[in-house]
């Protein structure tokens, strides 16, 4: 059996996903980082963007995180984000509408959020 690591993806107001995985790829402020079981203890600041989790049963979970942290120690990986959504939960049409609206209102924050959502769906 391949080595596994335990992943907890939590948002400020709920626990979004938890389970076993073989690889987690996330984007920190200094670049993309891939974490596999047995990685050195790590604590990093995440950029807004999609996080890819390759689960131990061969599936892939993609989530959109809006800022936050990645922390890995003791074969447990936690992804903390104020807002985090699974790609399956994202309503593409709504995100597209939000993106257009944000662009016309020049609301940079909303535009970034909508963009992250769409990228997560695209990576799924």
């Amino acid at each position: 059996m391949a080595a596994e690591l335990h992943v907890e993806l939590v948002a400020a107001d709920r626990s979004v996903w938890s389970g076993e995985a073989t690889l987690v790829v996330a984007r920190t402020t200094s670049g993309d980082i891939g974490v596999m079981p047995g990685h050195q203890p790590l604590l990093g600041v995440l950029e807004s963007g999609p996080v890819t989790i390759r689960t131990s049963d061969g599936g892939t979970v993609v989530a959109a995180v809006h800022g936050g942290f990645i922390s890995f120690a003791d074969n447990k990986l936690s992804l903390l984000a104020e807002i985090a959504e699974l790609a399956d939960e994202i309503d593409v049409q709504r995100a597209e509408r939000a993106l257009e609206r944000a662009k016309s209102d020049t609301d940079a924050g909303a535009e970034r959020r909508a963009d992250v959502r769409l990228r997560a769906v695209a990576a799924h």
Partner: protein
């Protein structure tokens, strides 16, 4: 119907109407406690993970950060007080305010100036009435706080702790809120949020026999701490807001339950009085009729002779 009886009837009616209202408020509060408790539970994973991360950085690196090191001579402290927007919750808000007053006295005795930040209309009214200075206040969300509310509150607090004390910044950050222990018990507590007191975290980790590993920081320990601490403050405030909301509902439920019980007792004793008044009225009417008939009989008997 006699005047006395009418007065009782009217009072019974009024109390019954009040009882209906308090009963409804009790039931609404009871249903909201469960919801609020669920929110507290849902926010726990984030808070615990974040606390773990903060402890890890603060113990696992020698970084000195303004938010983790204690000032040598703290001159000013900020106190964040969480009260409710609405009343009818028994001693909920006044207990929190009393705890804040004690904290203020203690801080003043230590020679610190106190800046007050208030959440909830009740606290604002208390300070407004006494014409005390309030640095900033927020109202309108105490019964169901969102994470964005916590962010809004944390922003000026973090800004003021990052400023130099000479320029009006603060050295310490305290929070006063009502801790939700159980349905029946809620305690107003005060705690220091910043600078972090790490002994507590260390104790906890040694208790569990868990040794915190040496972390690799991405991009650097300073940057991580810079990003982490504001989030930590936000999450602590969010957790406190949620607990305070649950406590508020529990306090309101209890207050409304005793109001409903008292209204029931009042209705019972008033209806006893009303019954006695009705009975007295009937007795009087009978004796008037009997007396009247007796007088008539006497009068007619007299004229016959």
């Amino acid at each position: 119907m006699g005047a006395q009886l009418r007065v009782y009837k009217r009072r019974i009616q009024a109390v019954t109407a009040t009882k209906k209202i308090t009963k409804a408020m009790e039931m609404i509060a009871a249903s909201r406690i469960v919801k609020a408790q669920r929110k507290v539970a849902a926010s726990m994973p984030y808070a615990t993970e974040l606390t773990r991360a903060v402890t890890a950085v603060a113990t696992g690196s020698n970084t000195k950060h303004p938010l983790t090191t204690e000032a040598e001579a703290p001159a000013r402290a900020a106190v964040l007080l969480l009260t409710s927007d609405r009343g009818l919750a028994g001693g909920y808000s006044s207990n929190a305010i009393k705890t804040a007053e004690r904290l203020r006295e203690r801080l003043a005795a230590e020679g610190k100036e106190v800046d007050t930040y208030i959440v909830g209309r009740k606290g604002v009214a208390y300070y407004g009435f006494r014409e005390r200075k309030v640095s900033e206040s927020w109202t309108g969300f105490t019964d169901s706080p969102e994470y964005s509310d916590a962010k809004k509150i944390a922003e000026p607090l973090i800004a003021s702790i990052q400023k130099d004390t000479a320029e009006g910044g603060v050295d310490e950050l305290h929070i006063v809120f009502t801790e939700f222990v159980s349905m029946m018990t809620q305690n107003a507590v005060d705690g220091r949020m910043l600078p972090l007191s790490l002994d507590k975290g260390e104790e906890e980790s040694t208790e569990k026999g868990e040794i915190l590993p040496l972390f690799e920081f991405e991009p650097s320990a300073e940057d991580v701490l810079d990003a982490l601490l504001p989030r930590y403050v936000e999450s602590r405030i969010y957790n406190a807001l949620l607990q305070a909301a649950a406590s508020e509902h529990a306090a309101r439920r209890r207050a409304m339950k005793s109001a409903t019980d008292n209204a029931g007792d009042l209705i019972k004793s008033l209806s006893r009085l009303a019954n006695a008044a009705r009975q007295a009225e009937i007795t009087q009417e009978i004796s008037e009729i009997v007396g009247g008939a007796g007088a008539l009989a006497d009068a007619s008997a007299g004229s016959d002779k």
